[in-house]
Amino acid sequence: MPLSMEEVEHIAELARLALTGEEKERLREELSEILDIAQRLQRIDTSDIPPTATVLPVNTVLRPDESRPGSPRDRLLENAAEHEDGQFRVDVILD
């Protein structure tokens, strides 16, 4: 089932990925091939089978609600492309 170019562009938009025309064309072909293989799973009868939520034999793990020190702010900001007044700086999103 070949994907259309519109579908590739829609997925790239959802994934927030800028792709070149060449990348889109290549991904269109490759994704179509990979999804063809994934399609084979449709043939397996799973009507009474629950999906795997976790492989672990545990349920919710609770810990005491105690405060602990977090990561130091200045150390975290050191890796940011831009920061200001102890905060990450990004492009304006509200006028």
Binding site: I34, L41, E78
Partner: protein, 487 residues
């Protein structure tokens, strides 16, 4: 006399304890060998020589003060997907170039508490996505047995550092085979612990329901030593299980008496199996029988579906996990004029082809209209696959199979064909999807002199069992060898 860089962890520990060598001496020997070989092999992305010598000095002081531990003063390498405080951690991606984590992964912190020395950070497929280490944004790692061939992946750098005597052992990570397959292709031991056995805190997430951290070593005993050091519950990782950590070295025995070994027939029928791999693994199974094991043929009927299940679930989880790389808090930022465009440009420039491919597959499989057909169905088939393993382990103690359908392939041979590359994981991803443990142990060489690995798979949290079987096999054979590296 054996070179210092050929010693196993146990042998090095014995000499350190006896005062025959110091950790500084041992560490210098490794740094010298890295300097001599690594321009060619490119196992390391970062060599932390100064830190290593400082840690070695401290280890020697601790030993002088009366401390003793099999890891005290032993030089190790860590895959570059594990966070190391203040030391660049890139995941072999351009998007994390220059990133210096503010904390250290729990697994490494535990090793450092025991006195292990960090030689550096090893190359890998970008974000651990790949089976050849060719997806690194920085370097092509070469297989020390044949420089024109891949080391496997994604923990290729850790496998090569261990195989070529550029570290006494290493940590890798395994999501669908990324420890076991490179171990097999490089002729070393590689152990993927059960999901939840080792804390993932500080492991940059690829597929959170599958990722696990484990050792690559030059002996089974060394794998037992390293696993014992890194296993256990960690309050910082809610999926690390609070179960006691046994003494894995105490479980090692040179025979297989009383053990039932299952041979999953589907694991010998995969497409593109190299006949020499099948022969070597069949011979290894006969050896296990000679050591006292009972051999039983078993079936894991959903094996063939595993590849499709894995290549839906792992990319789906990756697409969510990698959403955090957007140029805001760390790593590369490519300004796009407005925020969404900055995200897109940053990710478009920062991720390599395989990472983009998987983000796209994963996003598609999770998107409206396709979620039930792809992701949910894959999670249901995953349940069937896990039930196959549960049923098999009602009959047998461990499973024995090949690790990789072929020995090391040529650099560049599969890079243009993602599906052919994915096939390298066919025999390892089942254990990952089921959350059970597996180990690769050397079991021979093909006619080109390339190593072959035997895979032993055990039930969840039964690492002691696969270590025992691997140890018995290793003691009865002499396939654990070191390559002569020509640079």
């Amino acid at each position: 006399m054996t070179a210092l860089t050929d010693l196993t962890i146990r042998e090095a520990a014995d000499r350190l304890r006896a005062g025959e060598i110091s950790s500084v001496e041992l560490t210098r020997a490794y740094l010298d060998r890295i300097a001599a070989l690594d321009d060619t092999l490119q196992a390391y992305l970062t060599v932390t020589g100064e830190i290593a010598l400082e840690q070695a000095r401290r280890a020697d002081e601790r030993r002088a003060a009366g401390e003793d531990d099999p890891l005290l003063g032993v030089p190790l390498a860590y895959k570059d997907v594990l966070a190391t405080e203040g030391v660049q951690t890139t995941c072999a991606s351009r998007i994390l170039q220059g990133y210096k984590p503010p904390y250290t992964a729990t697994a490494i912190r535990k090793l450092e508490a025991r006195g292990a020395v960090m030689l550096g950070k090893t190359n890998m497929d970008e974000f651990a996505m790949g089976s050849s280490t060719e997806n690194s944004a920085y370097a092509v790692t070469r297989n020390p047995w044949d420089l024109d061939r891949v080391p496997g992946g994604s923990s290729g750098g850790s496998a090569v550092a261990t195989a070529a005597g550029m570290a006494a052992g290493a940590l890798g990570t395994d999501t669908g085979g990324s420890i076991r397959q490179p171990a097999s292709l490089c002729g070393v031991v590689g152990l993927k612990p059960s999901y939840g056995r080792v804390s993932r805190y500080g492991l940059v997430a690829f597929a959170s329901s599958l990722d696990s951290i484990g050792p690559l070593t030059r002996s089974v005993e060394d794998a037992a030593i390293l696993l014992g050091a890194i296993a256990g519950h960690d309050p910082a990782d809610s999926t690390s299980v609070n179960a006691p950590v046994p003494d894995y070295t105490a479980a090692l025995r040179p025979d297989m008496k009383g053990m039932r070994v299952g041979v999953p027939k589907e694991y010998f029928l995969a497409e593109g199996m190299q006949p020499e791999v099948v022969e070597a693994v069949r011979a290894a199974i006969a050896q296990l029988e000679a050591l006292g094991a009972e051999i039983v043929e078993v079936s894991l009927p959903h094996t063939e579906a595993g590849l499709a299940v894995y290549y839906i679930i792992a990319p789906a989880e990756a697409s969510a996990n990698l959403a955090r790389f957007d140029g805001v808090r760390y790593g590369l930022r490519v300004p796009g004029g407005e925020l969404i465009e900055t995200y897109k440009q940053t990710r478009g420039a920062g991720f390599g082809a395989e990472v983009k491919r998987r983000i796209m597959i994963g996003t598609y499989a999770l998107s409206a209209g396709y979620y039930d057909a792809y992701y949910l169905q894959a999670q249901k088939v995953r349940t069937l696959l896990k039930q196959d393993f549960d049923a098999a382990f009602e009959q047998v103690d461990v499973l024995a199979a090949p690790v990789s359908p072929t020995t090391a392939f040529r650099i560049g041979e599969r890079t243009d064909d993602p599906l052919q590359m994915y096939a390298a994981d066919t025999l390892t991803l089942g254990a990952s999807l089921a959350g059970v443990c597996g180990i690769s142990v050397p079991c021979g060489f093909d006619s080109e002199g390339l190593p072959i690995g035997l895979q032993l798979i055990g039930p969840a949290f039964e690492e002691a069992r696969i270590l025992r079987a691997a140890y018995a096999y290793e003691q009865a054979t002499d396939w654990q060898r070191m390559p002569e590296v020509r640079v």
